[in-house]
Subunit: 337 residues, 2 copies
DNA sequence: TTGAAAGCGCTAACAT
DNA sequence: ATGTTAGCGCTTTCAA
């Protein structure tokens, strides 16, 4: 019914192991033999049986990807990371097993113990993620997307949010802004103990201080009315405010409308810089100067690191992707007051 | 190193086959034996090896899910469907293999021939999808999310967009509206030969006709300016227009702003009904009367149908999910003119 | 109600 | 450069 190694071997007039070695390239094969085998493979439409291969080789050639079910992350970014992982994995000859976040610790144990996956990539990692001790215990190749509090012995990938904050501060300082507000993620994000919001704040505040820029920080829920409350309050309290840094996708749109209502032109009166997916940044008019979330790169790197671990190379430590500021129409030199 | 069936058997003082049967429940086992085996399983933390199991049983207990890489679909809905599939699959004891849309036909062949998956669920099915002939040829359990042109012998799941169109027409007719515009998906959607836009139009137009409601239809790109062009044109040409039906997520927000600009109050002057994810519908003020996209249900049903096929039950035919209109604040009786 | 044993299709020593 | 063969860990007849 289904084509097996033996079928290919018979057809090519060689032994099964020769076929296996032609395919795995794990030992030299004469050009003629190789040729004949490959032809047989093609003619018969042979695909190695994954189960048999996994059983014999103790390798599933599969990476498990754990995606959060509910998340404060912007969904399109999660999706882009997941798809990027899938694409990069396939390019590396691996398949991807999709695990939902709520499979949690048990899911990890199961997938590893059953030999379903050789490595694990975890998304939406919290500062004090409960899956981390299990990862250490299982001692399986693993990559975290996001940065937990304690990274000792772990391999992590994330945007360098600290640097992202600094870059935003620098950009606005360069443009002459002296009073800048940072509108951060909403409270649930801070509460859920995801670290990126705090890291951005840190990098931003430090650099602003160095550059002599005064700052306010507000955690800001998404949506029009929540944003309105925060923005009104800040504008009221800080009349000389001339720039906003935003790191909440759901705040960018509302903020622009509010500024329009307040008769503050962007970028003439107020500059806006966001740390957000490009999709969000290029939507409004004017388009927003931003530090994009490198979703595709994060997925790609995670796979690369997982593969390195599978190959026995040590990779532990954090890969913090350097932020790139893309200057668009929403930031400009501070108007002389 | 890893716990095997044999380890469990030894520990429980029974044969390997007995352990296997305890786990698979494929033959009666005495309560005492079962008890001892299960204890051994728990004590040793045994997880059956997936490869060995697949090899011996010819069943991978895995469903392949093909997710489009780029899509005109609204990403959060895709994600919700995918996660719903993953959750439902696990509840049915299956794992999910994530395939990207661009693996295409080859990906399907590979996954099936290698025994990686027992069944396939395809998202983002086009009217004349190239994967369909392959599905027929492979004769593997498969479920399509979306409705192709020719469904003979296929198992499909989708929202009944025809009925969704009708429901919207009815709702507005009931409210006394006589002139209604349908703002449809953007041109790329029609071009990509996805059927849902046409089906909505059909159901809407027919029912409107029956109810004596006059209609205009415009395909409408997302975003503010594209929407503005369309809406301005329609309002200009049809002064007595009193309601909009929208089935493009990216048009809902802009439409509301435009109506405000035109000094048309919603719902006092103009009613708005959308066919869109709830997430979109509940965002604006007023919240939008809508027919939600039942993403979670679609994923769940797809898995259920796939499982039925795996169990040998015939499932071919289309599961068209009945639309439910949720009345919110954006629709009201037509104002007397 | 339980056990013994023959594979499932492949990989990787070990031979030659 | 290629062939032989012993498993990998499980399922499932066939026996008892």
């Amino acid at each position: 019914m289904v084509v097996t190694l033996a079928d290919v071997a018979a057809r090519a007039g060689v032994s099964a192991s020769t076929v296996s070695y032609v395919i795995s390239r794990k030992r030299p094969i004469s050009p003629e033999t190789r040729e004949r085998v490959l032809r047989a493979v093609a003619e018969l439409g042979y695909h190695p049986n994954a189960g048999a291969r996994a059983l014999a080789s103790q390798r599933s050639n599969t990476i498990a990807l754990m995606v959060p079910l509910r998340s404060d992350m912007y969904v399109p970014v999660l999706m882009e990371i997941a798809m990027s992982v899938a694409t990069a994995a396939r390019a590396a000859g691996q398949d991807v097993l999709l695990l939902t976040g709520d499979e949690g610790i048990q899911g990890l144990r199961r997938v590893v113990a059953s030999g379903l996956a050789d490595a694990v990539i975890l998304m939406d990692v919290e500062l004090d993620d409960e899956r981390i001790p299990v990862l250490r215990e299982l001692a399986i190749p693993a990559v975290l997307i996001g940065l937990p509090a304690e990274t000792e012995g772990l391999t992590c990938v994330d945007l360098d949010f600290t640097a992202a904050g600094s870059v935003c501060a620098d950009h606005l300082a360069d443009l002459g802004h002296r009073y800048v507000a940072l509108l951060g993620a909403d409270r649930t994000v801070y509460r859920r103990r995801t670290g990126f919001a705090a890291r951005t704040l840190d990098g931003f505040t430090r650099r602003a201080l160095e550059r002599g820029v005064r700052t306010v920080h507000r955690s800001c829920d998404g949506g029009f009315s929540a944003t309105a409350a925060t923005v009104d309050e800040v504008l009221e309290a800080w009349p000389s405010l001339s720039a906003f840094v935003v790191q909440n996708e759901a705040v960018v749109g509302p903020l622009l409308h509010l500024l329009a209502q307040h008769r503050r032109a962007v970028p003439e009166d107020v500059s806006v810089v966001a740390i957000c997916p490009d999709q969000i940044a290029v939507q409004p008019q004017p388009r927003i100067t931003s530090v994009p979330i490198p979703a595709e790169e994060m997925g790609r790197r995670a796979v690369r690191l997982a593969m390195a671990q599978l190959a026995g190379k040590p990779t532990s430590g954090s890969t913090l992707i350097r932020p790139k500021l893309v200057v668009r129409g929403s930031s400009a030199a501070r108007a002389r007051s």
